[in-house]
């Protein structure tokens, strides 16, 4: 099934995207309302939470260009050194920009 990108068609597509995204925003919490929170479940949840971050970042570093890798390495070093997120992110972006400009 396809939808033509006429004004009405685009509107329908945007509504569909919104609904699918809404399901993802609500679905996890809705499902959890049927689960009793034991220490084991809580431990699973907390481990999963930090895993989400890792699972976004690691493939990003591997799949990306040298600039992407430079950004992540520079952010990590700055963050570990001064433990302030904003300077760490800024240094990361500058590193990406520099590597891409020189490369």
């Amino acid at each position: 099934m396809t939808i033509e990108t006429t004004p009405v068609g685009v509107l329908i597509l945007i509504v569909l995207m919104t609904l699918v995204t809404l399901i993802t925003r609500f679905g996890g919490v809705f499902a959890m309302s049927f689960v009793k929170i034991s220490p084991r479940v809580e431990s699973f949840i907390n481990a999963m939470a930090s895993s989400v971050l890792i699972a976004i970042i690691v493939p990003m570093a591997v799949a990306g260009d040298a600039g992407a890798l430079a950004a992540l390495v520079a952010t990590a070093i700055t963050m570990l050194a001064i433990r302030k997120p904003l300077p760490a992110i800024s240094v990361g972006l500058v590193a990406a920009a520099l590597v891409r400009y020189l490369g």
Binding site: G28, N46, M48
Partner: protein
């Protein structure tokens, strides 16, 4: 526990503080939004349609993903599958907030989830790991991120010449660097390091060998499975979380 008393004390003044806490990162999000607005108009959407999409969908990676399928016609099922797969991480992110969200009324619970996105979730999840209950950042941080995303889209859609190549400024790495700084801001116990290793290795394997866009969910569930069998020691802050919410 009675179903009708909700113990989470939602503090309006903290919502404001969290709005300003995420304001700096939102400036970067404006630039990222401009990149989307530009890409959207180049794919044939009108500026109004681009802005409407950012306004109602509010999930950048999936919006870029949908643009890849855009043409004079769009196949509906593949488009919905791509959007669902890229946004499936929301399912896990929402679930991870459930220990806090169960303590607010259902109306407020699902209202807050309308604003759930990576950056404000990462702050809330990290605060929770450190023994602080912070749902206010979901609303306050969510509003500023959402405004930035919509504003940025409008800039990009109307003034397309402004930011032709956001990658040259490293702007595609804003979210990655932000999330990484959140990870490194936490405490790395041996258990956490094992969880990270499992999540990292499985997400990479999924990215390499499974269909596209599944790596986040696969890695997150694998890391979570470690927690299922290796319970975390009870943290003092977590057992006194009712009081810990007030330590600002």
């Amino acid at each position: 526990m009675s179903a009708h008393t909700y113990s989470y004390q939602f503090q309006p003044h903290k919502v404001r503080a969290e709005f300003f806490r995420l304001l700096p990162i939102s400036l970067f999000v404006v630039a990222f939004g401009a990149a989307f607005g530009l890409a959207a108009t180049q794919s044939g959407l009108s500026p109004f349609q681009s802005i409407l999409m950012s306004f109602t969908v509010f999930a950048g990676a999936s919006q870029f993903g949908a643009l890849d399928l855009w043409g004079t016609e769009v196949s509906v099922i593949p488009m919905m599958v791509v959007v669902f797969a890229i946004n499936a991480r929301h399912l896990l992110m929402g679930a991870s907030l459930y220990p806090m969200l169960k303590d607010v009324s259902p109306a407020r619970r699902y209202g807050l989830l309308l604003f759930l996105t990576d950056a404000n979730w990462a702050v809330s999840a990290q605060d929770y790991q450190n023994g602080r209950r912070n749902l206010e950042v979901i609303l306050g941080g969510g509003v500023v991120l959402w405004l930035a995303w919509v504003l940025g889209t409008a800039f990009g859609a109307y003034f397309s010449g402004l930011l032709q190549n956001p990658k040259a400024f490293g702007l595609d790495m804003v979210l990655g660097c932000f999330l990484l700084s959140m990870v490194l801001g936490g405490k790395a116990t041996p258990r956490v390091v094992v969880v990270w290793l499992v999540a990292g290795v499985t997400s990479l394997a999924a990215w390499k060998w499974l269909p596209a866009n599944m790596h986040v969910v696969v890695g997150a569930l694998a890391g979570g499975a470690v927690g299922l069998f290796w319970l975390e020691p009870r943290v003092a802050g977590n057992s006194e979380q009712e009081g810990a919410g007030h330590d600002h």
